[in-house]
Subunit: 122 residues, 2 copies
DNA sequence: CTCATATTTCGCCACATAACGAACTAACGG
DNA sequence: CCGTTAGTTCGTTATGTGGCGAAATATGAG
């Protein structure tokens, strides 16, 4: 029950749902998620922490950057919840708009967002 | 997104999750749910209202009593969420204990149960 | 009609949570 | 070393939410 409740509470916030759905396309670093949501980095970091504790996302550190992605393996409850998100929001307008925005952000990265990242993305 | 969020918010409270799971066994009237949760009738009524707005439960009025049950037909999102609850909490200790308690409550005379509550509250 | 019963609505309080900015930590480049 | 950059943690604030009791509503009994 406790684990299930932490998953439900994690997914009871629209910004956290948007993060999870954005990660369907692949891993993102924090600054990219910050740009997508238009929230302060500290706020986004808190959201990511809540999603990670619910085992809905996993992280990977690479130098100064922190990358987040959906887990390959996690609890049955978390997998079920992720499947529910996928089936319920696949054609949601907000989620689709976010996907477009994320694609733009990944291009913008080369110019301005994370300057040092230009080498890696090029 | 709005509908999905209302479902997630509805299921982000353990007492509401307990209500939905209890209704797996069949419909219950408000006073039976009140007895199971041990909360004030006004609190339970609010929970039921939130679940109903999320289309996770439906109601049926019979005289002075209000019966709640799981919907035969509802939104795809709600169906998926109910399925997630079923698969995630089928063997949860709290949910199992509630099922036993509900069976006990159903054996009691309904009017006697409500009369007892009234006297306790008075 | 009036009274009792079952449920809901309202008003209030305590606590949880989402947001921000500031301060802190970690990693890289001089 | 130092300064810069990416993230996190901390402190504060505003809003949301769950709880209760009292009042309101609706129905049935007398």
């Amino acid at each position: 029950m406790f684990e299930f409740m932490s998953i439900m509470k994690a997914l009871a916030d629209p910004n956290r749902v948007r993060i999870v759905c954005a990660l369907e396309a692949g891993e993102l670093c924090v600054c990219q998620i910050v740009e997508m949501l238009g929230l302060a980095p500290s706020t986004v970091s808190k959201h990511l922490s809540i999603l990670r504790q619910a085992r809905l996302i996993v992280d990977r550190k690479e130098g100064r950057w922190m990358y987040y992605r959906l887990p390959e393996e996690t609890s049955t409850e978390a997998q079920g919840a992720l499947a529910l998100l996928r089936s319920s929001l696949a054609s949601d307008s907000q989620i689709l708009a976010d996907a477009v925005r994320v694609a733009e952000i990944q291009c913008l990265d080369r110019e301005a967002l994370c300057r040092t990242q230009t080498k890696q993305n090029a």
